[in-house]
Symmetry: C2
Subunit: 339 residues, 2 copies
DNA sequence: GCAGGCGATGTAAACGATTACACGCGTGTT
DNA sequence: AACACGCGTGTAATCGTTTACATCGCCTGC
């Protein structure tokens, strides 16, 4: 920058003004400086700039050790939105416990202008004590008093799915739960229970089968489900991976789906439409989640201390395919193009 | 920091020395300063530190707009390795063209100590003109003269797969190619052709079906393959997504796999073992790719200008499942636990 | 003709660390 | 007794920007 200033016979202040488009600068000087800067391949040093402006133009994202599709989609949403506003994104993934997460938050302090934290546990990390007061942050899927929060409507999606199954005539619906201590899993279970009761379907704790969101859990659930008496007619897995594991188990055992059992999942991962039979699921707007979260945190950054905390929820959509035995879905599917 | 120094009745220099563990400091002073720093919740300002040390402790990662599982795995590998060395990772994904990629590289200049760039096109972006000379960077899947490079052995994996099919008695093997201008796709095609020739199987350009790595391409390939005369007995899709789309198409048409056609893929994405029939594929060490790339770039950062460029290749593994009709695989599979 | 205002620019003080260099002081060597 | 040396510490320059404030013409309105 000094070189540019010398070459243009002005002070560094003027060069700075030109480069930031701030303050009054003569049009001639402006052009001259810009030309010289380009010729000298000058680019401002972002670190020095950050030091004085107290802005890093960077957002921090903390994600747990999660399943592939979700991860990439949420990052995609965040990255897209951040880039649009000239922000960079530093991620830290694969956090399994609270301490690790908190350590990373600490490590990001001072490097980022705001943070997006997805913590799957039911109790979010104690950000308050780590982060400066009024630090822009949004918690995903974890309502919080002290920060912005944004959640997926797991409860609503799960109960809508149960209502759909009941609408197809099912009265006895099994549920393969997610891991204990996971907030998504907890909400989905709550939605299931609530709808089962509301529809006066069979509410039987034996119908609730433990799981951990992995394919193997669905596969393992297969035997337990077939042993249930009276037998359920539909199985609702708390996520698609488990539903797919279950389908695999059924196929191996020669149990026809949806003839013997209707099977449905949650998440609508891309592969869901390609399994056999195509899986009915609840679509979660993952990229939108990331995008929206980014908007929230950027707004908080911009507004500074005057920012008022918000608490929002994103709606889910029912995606009907053949695995639930819905006639309408079957017919629709046959005509539909594979996208 | 000034506050800590004042409180401890020493100069900021001494505080700095204690915090960095450099330079001789009396043990008493050291303890005193550490205690005060903790009490005052003092944490060094990373930006100020970066300004003077010319180290940001941050790595940049540029990824194209890619399929979920790959993305998250490679990031996982990178993040893990980077964190172990105290580095942060700023990612920028969803780059579709060369210009966008180059723009992001420019934007990252000065914010990162090194970069990992995955560019799927056959001609990598012209980093030389953008990046300072001898800037630590590793190109993934794109051999380069001016930077470190690290690739997956697509060629070797593809030809091993062809040889395996030939070993099962197949002479006429169709290949669903990846998108033109994609370096992975090009190498896999090259491996297929090479092995077909080497095994003196049928080398027929009609057996090479165009594709784009997406499920729909596999689905669409279904009709074309069934129309081929003479009919192939095996189909090798350049990635698993297309293989899964193809399986879906075959099932819809009532074509039994592997009885009528053996079907194999490439990548061994997690879902591959859960489709019907379980998909034979080529496992790509994705996380290892990220991890190794990170090691390379960190080494380059550490060594500075003395660093000598390397060019490495990561081996792939054949994963045999039922879709290729291998008897051994079938038997093995039945006994194997679903993991 | 002069005060006041404004537009264009320069000066220098931050921002918050690191570190080369200087300095004082015990200690061991000659 | 003088000297060299190493340890512990302080002083101040430095990293590359931004920006408050000062300065200096020049124009305008009275």
């Amino acid at each position: 920058m000094r070189d540019v200033a010398r070459e243009a016979a002005v002070s560094v202040a003027t060069v700075s003004r030109v480069l930031n488009g701030k303050g009054p600068v003569h049009a001639d000087t402006q052009r001259r400086i810009q030309k010289i800067a380009k010729r000298l391949h000058y680019v401002p040093h972002p670190v020095a700039r950050s030091l004085i402006t107290r802005r890093t133009l960077t957002l921090g994202v903390l994600l747990p050790d999660l399943y592939g599709e979700f991860f990439s989609e949420v990052i995609r949403g965040i990255d897209l939105c951040a880039r649009r506003s000239g922000y960079h994104v530093v991620v830290s993934s694969s956090h399994s416990d609270r301490e690790e997460t908190e350590a990373m938050i600490r490590a990001m302090r001072g490097r980022v202008d705001g943070m997006i934290v997805l913590y799957p546990g039911t109790r979010p990390p104690t950000l308050k004590s780590i982060l400066p007061d009024r630090f822009p942050a949004v918690l995903l899927n974890n309502p919080s008093r002290s920060f912005d929060s944004l959640s997926i409507d797991n409860f609503g999606g799960a109960s809508a799915m149960v209502r759909h199954l009941v609408g197809l005539g099912h009265r006895r619906i099994a549920f393969i739960a997610g891991p204990a201590g996971n907030s998504d899993a907890a909400e989905r279970l709550r939605g299931y229970r609530d709808a089962v009761r509301a529809c006066s379907a069979d509410a039987d704790s034996k119908l609730e089968i433990p799981g951990d969101f992995r394919e193997s859990a669905g596969y393992d659930a297969c035997r337990r489900i077939r042993a249930l008496r009276p037998r359920p007619t539909a199985i609702f897995a708390a996520n698609d991976s488990m539903a797919i594991g279950l389908l695999y188990g059924f196929r191996e055992a020669g149990v026809p789906v949806p003839k013997e059992f209707a099977v449905v999942g949650f998440d609508d991962i891309p592969i869901a439409r390609y399994v056999t039979p195509p899986l009915t699921s609840v679509r979660v707007p993952i990229a939108a989640l990331g995008e929206h979260a980014t908007q929230l945190v950027l707004k908080a950054v911009e507004e500074g201390p005057t920012h008022r905390k918000t608490r929002e929820t994103l709606a889910t959509t029912l995606i009907i395919r053949a695995s639930c035995g819905s006639e309408g879905a079957d017919r629709k599917k046959r005509n539909a193009a594979v996208v």
